[in-house]
């Protein structure tokens, strides 16, 4: 008797999970897939031989010296690489601040034994007497803002790099001030402490901003303690009175997105798409005018919050936050914008920009 009841319960449970999985589970998985995907991605890495080798030195140029060079990365030498042009190579990356940067020549002196000469189209490696050792693999990526150099390690003179513990790179780009980078030739793991410290810092800036948020808004009286629908009708009335009231347009768009967040998935997509029509129109009308910060802040906040997989707005959000940085005088808002831009850039895979923004934020607001 008990066995039969237990059997029926077990069967019912199996049926219930099966029915739920087939009717809703697959769709739900695709809707929420970015969450498990990001979690899963933390544990997966492409074999370093395909990606240029592990990073052993990473220099980010955050100074305002006018140099177009943003980042200089030295990788561990790679051996036995598959599917690559050279099975043994050593990769150096140069990332620039702008797309297609204007430079004539880059000379990189390595340990005073080698000189790497880069032009706009090719890279050549010479010894200290000026004799050509080899041509390098030269890849111009990301619309010219990233140059990857792969030095083949076939030549015996270059092979001594395989056993080196440290190399010193002296980077000379046209007439700009030279950079000296000491690079260990062994990769180090990213410090978890550093990551935790960054997380705590970001939280601190967000809290600081949340405390002062309302005092920053000067353009419009925001209705307080009202529901989303009440806010929507409040701003809708304002838009009906003046269709070019960009601040109200932005707030209306913002609240539409908030409503999207409170609605079913189906409705949410439609509401967020609708929200952007208002937010974009508001940003267009507000450009260069007083109140632009309010408008951009609304659009950027929505862009930072909506799922990147569906809407792909992280890059727009980061640009809006950077625009806020350039027009506001408020230090807290600047720091908050940098931190939010950091998160947006990370979402869309622009790691260098993200690191730079976090560094800038740390200059604005200190945190122990």
């Amino acid at each position: 008797m008990i066995k039969t009841i237990l059997g029926k319960i077990r069967y019912s449970w199996k049926m219930l999970t099966t029915v739920f999985t087939c009717f809703f589970g697959i769709s739900l998985f695709f809707i929420c897939s970015s969450i498990p995907q990001n979690f899963f991605a933390h544990f997966l890495h492409v074999d370093p031989s395909y990606t240029g080798g592990l990073v052993c030195a990473d220099f980010i140029n955050s100074s305002d010296d006018g140099s177009p060079l943003l980042r200089y990365t030295v990788h561990e030498p790679v051996t036995n690489a598959r599917w690559q042009q050279s099975a043994e190579y050593w990769q150096l990356d140069l990332e620039f601040k702008d797309k297609s940067p204007a430079f004539k020549n880059i000379n990189i002196s390595i340990d005073e034994d080698f000189e790497l000469q880069l032009t706009d189209t090719e890279g050549k490696l010479y010894d200290n007497s000026g004799n050509l050792i080899c041509n390098t693999e030269y890849y111009k990526l990301e619309n010219g803002s990233l140059i990857k150099i792969r030095i083949p390690l076939k030549d015996k003179r270059v092979q001594k790099l395989l056993g080196a513990k440290q190399t010193i790179h002296y980077v000379l780009l046209d007439d700009y001030a030279p950079l000296t980078i000491e690079a260990s030739m062994k990769a180090h793991k990213k410090s978890k402490k550093e990551e935790a410290k960054n997380k705590a810092y970001i939280q601190h800036v967000k809290e600081l901003y949340a405390e002062k948020q309302f005092s920053l808004m000067t353009q419009i009286q925001i209705p307080q303690g009202k529901t989303t629908d009440e806010n929507l009708s409040y701003f809708k009335d304002k838009i009906n009175t003046n269709q070019d009231d960009f601040v109200s347009l932005a707030y209306y768009g913002f609240w539409l997105a908030v409503k999207g967040g409170e609605s079913s998935v189906m409705k949410a997509v439609a509401l967020v798409n609708e929200a952007y029509t208002y937010l974009d129109k508001a940003a267009e009308l507000a450009a260069g005018k007083e109140g632009e910060i309010d408008v951009l802040l609304n659009r950027a906040s929505v862009s930072a919050s909506v799922p990147e997989q569906f809407f792909g707005k992280a890059a727009v959000g980061a640009e809006d936050f950077m625009r806020i940085v350039s027009i506001t005088e408020n230090e807290t808002l600047k720091a908050y914008s940098y931190v939010m831009a950091y998160e947006c850039y990370q979402k869309c895979g622009k790691e260098t920009q993200a690191i730079l923004d976090l560094q800038e934020a740390q200059k604005m607001v200190q945190y122990q």
């Binding site: 059997g7 999985t21 899963f40 395909y50 690559q84 990526l141 189906m266 997509v269 869309c348």
Partner: protein, 396 residues
């Protein structure tokens, strides 16, 4: 009738969300949504009228998807790289799209080296490693190897070619067992070779679909050999043999993902069931099975289910004169004497009958597989529809 209407309405929601809403009501999205709904409604109503008669709509979908996928994929490659050939830039920047066929080749090396031996993006891309592995995991737990016959964006080529001729010129039925043994043997060889070389060997040397997607430039003797091999395999296994045998020969003899999905299919919810009491042994199912999953022995020994390589395409259901083959829940297969299955209880009221029809394994399987197909295909198909419209001077 009512159950078909309910299923169609539920599918309409999925199509509306993933195809129409996600593409902001673009004309191509609306057109594709209508096509999908036409297929699903016709399939569901046909199946409810006569079991197995809706199988033609699956064939149409898979063939159209395979062609549409290749159009969109090649167009993307040409826009990005100027040709279908893999560039050193794409390779050095880990930008090769990762497809499901690479999964069995990367899993064992992943366990050993903790690295993915494929130069693809890990996440944040439509063909990234994390997303494809997750999709495979969910697929394994739901439709299992049904992926090959319902969702696979390459399978449609063979599906299409295997229905060109009316009758098979070569009969593979007596060689089914050998074919399966070769398939699994080849998969283990590929996995082992990939582990030894720390590179995806099937992708490098064998994959015939490089002809309709991307391939390495021919600039050395090994690359020339690889090119001859993939062109030969495409012509032989994807075009000629499917026409001559009316079977999906590449899927059932070479594809390492197919063999791997067969092994992991035991974790899926659904399985095909052969009712030995109803079976008259006519062997029509064995003759038509495109995956060589039913042998003479399967029927003679009354195994009660097809062999391990079954891809749940439903072709056997459509030809069985005695309705002896059906979709079944795997948890019902284990205890064949179970009397608690809904289908064993005769419906007392119309409402119960509708409810039972809705929860019928065939309906649930078709709904799950078609949901997958809708979601996986929408981006590619809308892109290729826009491209086709552009070619004929229409609006993009």
């Amino acid at each position: 009738m009512i159950s078909s209407l309910i299923l169609s309405a539920m599918m309409a929601f999925i199509v509306l969300f993933f195809v129409v809403l996600m593409h902001n009501f673009a004309p191509a999205a609306i057109l594709y949504a209508l096509f999908l709904m036409f297929l699903f409604i016709r399939m569901t109503f046909a199946e409810n009228k006569k079991m197995g008669s809706g199988v033609i709509y699956r064939r149409i979908f898979q063939t159209v998807f395979a062609v549409g996928f290749c159009i969109a994929f090649i167009a993307d490659l040409i826009a990005e790289r100027g040709s279908m050939s893999i560039t050193s830039e794409a390779m050095s920047n880990s930008e090769l799209p990762f497809c499901h066929i690479a999964i069995p080749q990367v899993l064992v090396p992943l366990l050993v080296t903790k690295n993915i031996i494929f130069p693809a993006r890990i996440s944040g891309h439509y063909a990234s490693v994390a997303s494809m592995i997750l999709i495979w995991l969910v697929c394994t737990l739901t439709v299992g190897r049904g992926w090959c016959s319902w969702i696979c964006f390459y399978g449609g080529w063979e599906e299409g070619f295997s229905h060109v001729a009316k009758k098979p010129r070569i009969k593979l039925l007596p060689k089914n067992k050998e074919l399966r043994e070769f398939h699994f043997g080849f998969m283990f060889f590929i996995i082992l070779a990939s582990l030894c070389e720390l590179a995806c060997i099937y992708c490098e040397w064998f994959c015939p679909f490089k002809l309709v997607t991307e391939f390495s430039p021919v600039n050395s003797i090994p690359s020339l050999i690889a090119t001859i091999m993939f062109v030969g395999l495409f012509i032989g296994l994807v075009i000629v043999l499917p026409i001559l045998t009316k079977k999906r020969t590449q899927c059932s003899s070479l594809c390492p993902f197919g063999a791997f999905a067969s092994l992991t299919d035991r974790f899926s919810i659904f399985q095909m069931k052969i009712d030995s009491d109803k079976c008259s042994g006519c062997m029509k199912c064995a003759s038509i099975c495109p995956f060589s999953a039913i042998d003479i022995k399967t029927i003679q020994e009354k195994k009660g289910h097809p062999e391990i390589t079954c891809a749940k395409c439903g072709e056997c259901v459509s030809v069985c004169p005695n309705k002896a083959i059906s979709y079944e829940f795997r948890f019902n297969m284990k205890k064949s004497s179970c009397s608690c299955g809904h289908h064993k209880n005769p419906p007392k009221t119309a409402a119960v009958r509708v409810f039972q029809q809705l929860l019928h394994p065939a309906n649930l399987f078709r709904f799950a597989a078609f949901s997958f197909a809708v979601i996986m295909s929408s981006d590619f198909m809308i892109k290729s529809l826009n491209l086709i419209a552009g070619l004929f001077g229409g609006r993009k």
